[in-house]
Symmetry: C2
Subunit: 485 residues, 2 copies
């Protein structure tokens, strides 16, 4: 266990706290029914995203560390069992059995920070069906939000093209734990720091901050406020210049910076938080430069996301760093992933649903990624898990064992995951990193295909299922569902 990663889980979820009731009621009633029906077979569930939101060309997997910590906490105490029985949906003796259930299965997963695409399993759980079923809501809940945010954050990093980004998400994140997820996902994706002190501490990442309007407003006037801040603040000095009028504030900042320079002290930056950031940053830069303050950087914030950062950077606005928060913390242009956790095999037999727009690919899987000679990603292939590695080319498997017989295997450090993520993003086809969709309004699509073995097994399972259920054969039965390639 690394000291950085596990600290936050243990803070928010004490080790003695079991999480087995953090479940949709039907998980518990189904698990009780599997027991009653004597179903002790092993199941495989695949966790994947059915399709990408508009304006997304890839996803960044995140949340696995938290998900696996939760898996270790299935089950609940006697009061929990009594509560469950009191709902009238589970018999008392079955509630007691569920309360004692622990996770004894295996998990294979894609490392956090890796880029994934639709239909590719991020996680596969192999376990007695009761355990795998009880874990559904916990695992989905652990992966959905961090993946959503890491994906958005990676886009912000791409848009900033090397300029540092600071996570400002705490105040409008959906809760305290979520704010730590935001800080972690943003750090994973390459942010430089977070303003969230508790999260920085828990995760062992840098905290940073400037000053807010309240400080300026509480002083007799803006000059007095800058002066007071320069005397009181420790660490790099940033002045917030937009409380009343950005150019006026900049004038006051310049006077102070020149005076402080005389005392051998530097103003590190000014922060712009409102208005036309492109025009204002140019005007502020010009005034700073004319005053001989080329070393004073310009930091911008205020409702920013990858679109506004991209526009500012492409326009050449002289902004040296960005604070982003609210829109990343709610992934505001794409706040939902169609992420599902679906049974794909039970007791050795393939399982699938045929529901409209929700067909599941059968069986345990592996995802293979092909690189060119320069290491650049060319295409992915979703294969059956028991297939041999593809030949002819440099193929890498994405799913690796992370839990064996209920025990977690070695946990990667967050710093490693972050570095690997940066390397991975650099290998993506560049069009996938585009922020704006193309002229036709579409996001770039990465080629993902099914192996012929998996495709044939899937077709066979669809045909067998339709035959078994007395359904007409369909023209669609003859082809697999993944159509990108």
């Amino acid at each position: 266990m690394t000291s950085t990663d596990c600290a936050r889980v243990s803070t928010s979820e004490p080790a003695e706290l079991r999480l087995g009731l953090v479940a949709d009621l039907y998980e518990l009633t189904m698990a009780a029914s599997y027991h009653r029906l004597g179903m002790q077979g092993r199941a495989t569930f695949s966790l994947f995203v059915r399709k990408l939101p508009a304006h997304r060309s890839f996803l960044v997997a995140a949340g696995l560390d938290g998900a696996l910590a939760r898996l270790e906490r299935l089950g609940f105490d006697d009061e929990g069992a009594a509560y469950l029985a009191s709902t009238g949906h589970v018999r008392p003796e079955e509630a007691a059995v569920l309360a004692r259930t622990r996770f004894t299965g295996d998990v294979r997963a894609v490392r956090e920070g890796r880029v994934v695409f639709p239909d590719e399993p991020l996680v596969e759980v192999d376990a007695p069906i009761v355990e795998a079923q009880l874990a559904e809501s916990l695992i989905l809940n652990a992966l959905h939000y961090p993946t959503l945010v890491a994906t958005k954050a990676a886009r912000c990093v791409a848009a900033a093209r090397g300029r540092p980004l600071v996570d400002f998400g705490l105040r409008r994140a959906p809760g305290i734990d979520a704010s730590a997820d935001v800080a972690r996902s943003c750090w994973l994706a390459g942010f430089a720091s977070t303003s969230n002190v508790d999260a920085a501490r828990r995760l062992g990442i840098p905290a940073s901050g400037t000053v807010a309007h309240a400080f300026i407003e509480a002083m007799p006037d803006e000059r007095a406020a800058f002066e007071a801040w320069s005397r009181a603040a420790v660490g790099p000095l940033t002045l917030l210049v937009d409380t009343y009028d950005t150019l006026n504030g900049t004038r006051a900042a310049i006077e102070l910076a020149q005076r402080l320079r005389g005392e051998g002290r530097a103003v590190a930056a000014v922060r712009l938080d409102s208005g036309d950031l492109d025009a204002l940053s140019r005007a502020v830069r010009q005034r700073l430069d004319e005053a001989g303050l080329r070393y004073v950087r310009i930091f911008a914030s205020g409702g920013l996301d990858e679109y506004s950062v991209d526009r500012l950077v492409r326009a050449g606005a002289p902004i040296d760093g960005f604070g982003v928060g609210t829109r990343v913390g709610m992934s505001s242009d794409a706040p939902v992933l169609d992420m599902a956790y679906k049974l794909v095999e039970y007791a050795g037999a393939p399982c699938l649903k045929l529901s409209t727009s929700k067909v599941t690919l059968v069986g345990p899987k592996q995802v293979w990624r092909l690189r060119d000679a320069g290491g650049r990603f060319i295409a992915d292939r979703i294969a059956a898990r028991d297939e041999p590695a593809p030949t002819s080319g440099d193929w890498e498997p994405l799913l690796e064992p992370v839990v064996s017989q209920g025990r977690r295997l070695e946990r990667p450090r967050l710093a490693e995951l972050r570095a690997a993520h940066a390397a991975e993003i650099a290998c993506l086809p560049p069009e996938l990193r585009a922020i704006e969709p193309d002229a036709a309004g579409a996001a770039a699509i990465y080629p993902v295909s099914l192996s012929s073995v998996l495709a044939e097994r899937h077709r066979a399972a669809v045909r067998a299922t339709r035959r078994r259920e007395g359904l007409e054969p369909r023209p669609a039965d003859g082809r697999a569902t993944v159509r990108r390639s």
Copy 2:
């Protein structure tokens, strides 16, 4: 303290756990600077939403109970102080002072479940500026998400027009605590139950559930699955009919229902989770009715929100209840509120910022709501707190004391808040409850005005601030910023 409301706070945040480091770093550096500068004056901060998202005509206030619980947990322990000092942004002796800071101020707030509008304070904090500043991120974080979700949930309830709604949000909610916030906000807004067992238990609200596709898929075939479910499940029997083909599944459900009826047992409902819910629900209803199963209800789920529920209900689809989850839990059509916590008075002097699009109304406030003879809301007026109540009409003040000298006053029970919310929604002008915007694409706007006293104080403060900061007078200085009336 009620047993229902406080249980969840105490579960996720043990009483001994201080939350003072759950702050943006600048709150702590500013607070340290106020100390150093000897600023012990009292500040008033207003928490409000600057403007409504498109497609919203009102907000439902929520999250106050959690916010006030957090206020009681300002400060941090010695390790926290050491960490803070280690960032280099706060001196060790100041970190120690901040660690010992507790909230001793007063809070006035709008009750949870009440309808509020832009610029209306949901919360006003009056406290020594250090304390009020340290609370900023904690309070905003506590209010933003529950208010967002309660607002979305209230729209779903309006759309369902009396049909029961079940919260299915757990699996894609942004974390475990967030999933409890979703359950609570949905219950406050009038949902019938939640699938989230842990949240139901913490909040003392009904849990409900059906059955998932995995159960069907793990069985030899769908008929066998229904049969097994009917034998194993306790409580009301719901059959999920869309795993392979909805009408085929309905046939199997009908056969089972008829057989069970012979044994004196009822199938309570069938659940549709995919496809064209309007057409399918009609076809399923017809088949059920023809089979003499009028008592079997139809429950629908699958990516629903207020828009799809509204369309289904208006089209007359024979659906008796809805499960909604993902889109409510991320408020997917409007995932962000422009909610802010701004200094409006320090040491008796009005404070404001003039930043573009972010002007703050000065001073402590009260919000007054006018009702007609039938109790229907006519208009709101934002006034200075020290103004007398408006005369001529039935005006009710929205902000009431909830914390006095750091001590919480009586906490309303969640059940009371829920009942009051339902009564309040019934008093809204009906056009505000519309789900779809009008023909011009606009959401209905409720009239909110400023009192002439507040408007004049605000104008005077703007003029004085601009004069003080050496800014040109502006034509806009002559009018107040709230323009709805």
